[in-house]
Symmetry: C2
């Protein structure tokens, strides 16, 4: 069991990582409402509720279609009926949707209460559970509703990964590759050396605690510097401006990891075109994504014009101009730059 501290101005919180650690946690004072989706509820709700010492469980139907502000309001209404006061807390056990909805509920219940993240997917462990971004979708767009609200603790038990379907595992791997490409050349080399171990269940408890720890550490540092994404935190969007466009055109049927992988491939091509990244870097990024069975071509038959138009709608853009993150080396991202439509078109064409 290892701990990382994330410092945020005057506050801080711990991320605890290990295999089969949940039952060994110290129980905190105060009442807890455990939030899960229907899938995690079946597999783990009893075990997690018992570890947290609570009998209050709220669950919602698994899937992206639950990621609406109304679900967060339902969490709050449940808490209100249980007479939860400002010292009570929510605990999110699940993937990104559960974490986002529960975090958002914690951000708005009585103007903000504490919440704990207990990610059960690899993607949530390395990405959404750290950083304090919470939110929900409205018919007009993804994540348009939300708040920055940091967890009071994150507990990552790699034992949960054993029940994860391969497609879910790959969603997490895409974010791990992204973290390595933008921030840590050594982590990238480690992934290159032994990609098979990332898929072998018997290796999980050896492989993942260390990789997840490193990803959380790196993300924690970026978030500490720039909690509300005014500056450098934007580099975490590497591959995402391109990726979101494919996700949008697929009507969000494409898994996030596949979209991000293709997005990184496109960002890599653009970086080479603009002379900031070497061909060797692009080749290594592509080879690693390939070994992890992640796409390096546009996953689906989408028109390039539509992809470029979809990028224009990204909420990180300002004044209608598309901004993308590019790297100058493996392990080194630059701040977002404005990209013109001709170059974006060419980048997409290169991975067609």
């Amino acid at each position: 069991m290892e701990k990382i501290r994330v410092e945020l101005g005057e506050r801080s919180y711990d991320i605890t990582i290990g295999n089969k650690i949940l039952s060994r946690l110290e129980r905190e004072a105060g009442r807890t409402l455990l939030v899960t989706d229907s899938t995690v509820k079946k597999l783990y709700a009893r075990e997690i509720a018992s570890a947290l010492g609570t009998e209050h469980v709220f669950s919602f139907p698994a899937g992206e279609s639950s990621k609406r502000p109304e679900t967060s309001l339902d969490i709050c209404r449940t808490a209100a009926r249980l007479n939860f006061d400002r010292k009570c807390r929510f605990a999110a056990a699940g993937g990104g949707v559960t974490g986002d909805l529960t975090g958002f509920a914690a951000a708005i219940y009585m103007r903000g209460i504490e919440f704990i993240q207990i990610p059960t997917t690899l993607l949530a462990a390395v990405d959404s559970s750290v950083g304090g971004k919470t939110g929900a979708d409205i018919p007009e767009g993804k994540n348009l509703i939300g708040a920055f609200h940091q967890p009071s603790a994150v507990v990552i038990d790699t034992a949960f990964l054993a029940t994860l379907p391969p497609a879910e595992l790959k969603n997490g791997l895409a974010e791990i590759v992204k973290t390595a490409v933008i921030l840590d050349g050594q982590l990238f080399e480690q992934l290159e050396r032994d990609p098979e171990s990332l898929f072998q269940k018997p290796d999980f408890e050896k492989t993942y605690p260390q990789i997840i720890r490193r990803c959380c550490e790196l993300k924690g540092m970026i978030v500490s510097e720039d909690e509300c994404e005014k500056g450098r935190r934007a580099i975490l969007n590497y591959g995402h401006t391109f990726g979101h466009a494919v996700e949008l055109l697929s009507d969000y049927t494409l898994p996030h990891g596949q979209a991000v992988a293709a997005g990184m491939a496109a960002a890599g091509e653009l970086a080479v075109m603009l002379g900031v990244w070497s061909k060797e870097c692009v080749r290594r990024q592509k080879a690693l994504l390939n070994m992890l069975e992640l796409p390096v071509k546009i996953p689906g038959k989408y028109n390039t014009c539509d992809l470029v138009a979809a990028m224009r709608r990204d909420k990180k853009n300002l004044n209608g101009r598309t901004r993308v993150v590019l790297c100058s080396d493996i392990g080194c991202a630059q701040l977002p730059v404005e990209a013109d439509e001709k170059d974006l078109t060419e980048a997409w064409e290169r991975i067609r």
Copy 2:
């Protein structure tokens, strides 16, 4: 036209106060969605939209029944359909409901955008437009959903007060008395000297800018010290723990100012019973409330047990204990203290 600066850690914002100042404001860059209720829309929407240089107006039916999170979500959805990005802003023109709903929408749209408060009621001018508390009601309780989100500017034009019904004016006066009792003995004396001027429309532009300025200055100082109500900010709840109980039992048909006035009367009695306030202070508070035609007895036929039980449900309580703010002088409030039910019962009985 006068300006007060409210400092909040690294951020700050200005409150601009004066008579007929709206048309003289400098227009800021960036797009604005003006939010009003149906009443203010009829009276002032065109004038305010023109002063803000926007043509985008969202309005909702006037009244407390609109104060639901769904209304804030509608504001966000309207902004999304207008392709508002993170640099756009909302402007709330109206009373407390409009400010609370618009501020909450600004807190959750794209994880937080700027908003401007343009209070058109006296209550909003002296109270809700400063402080950054935003929120909405759910069937389980008032203001159980919300966020701390500070405005980027507050513009108080006392010209709006001319169209205010007397009952609305008195809602604001109750908060002004509260501010004086807890923080400013001189302001209290000023109110005692010439209460009539507070009701004479020809006097409004002489009387109110100065009183509103002082109330905003005082509230601004308290909020600067304690933005998220961890400590001293709680003194602003003077009269409110008692007052909320009457409001709740009246099913929120009782105007807020009447509830707060009766609440201050009860808090005054409790303070005398506990030996912290002199009888002379209670007498002066009662006399001033009387002169302002505000109640100093329980307004309605409510059972004392029910009132005490309703106080127990206040969201400022912790661990099920009722906490109330008492004063030790006119102009000097103490931090909240736990009160036992016997004393609360006696305090209510004394103003029956």
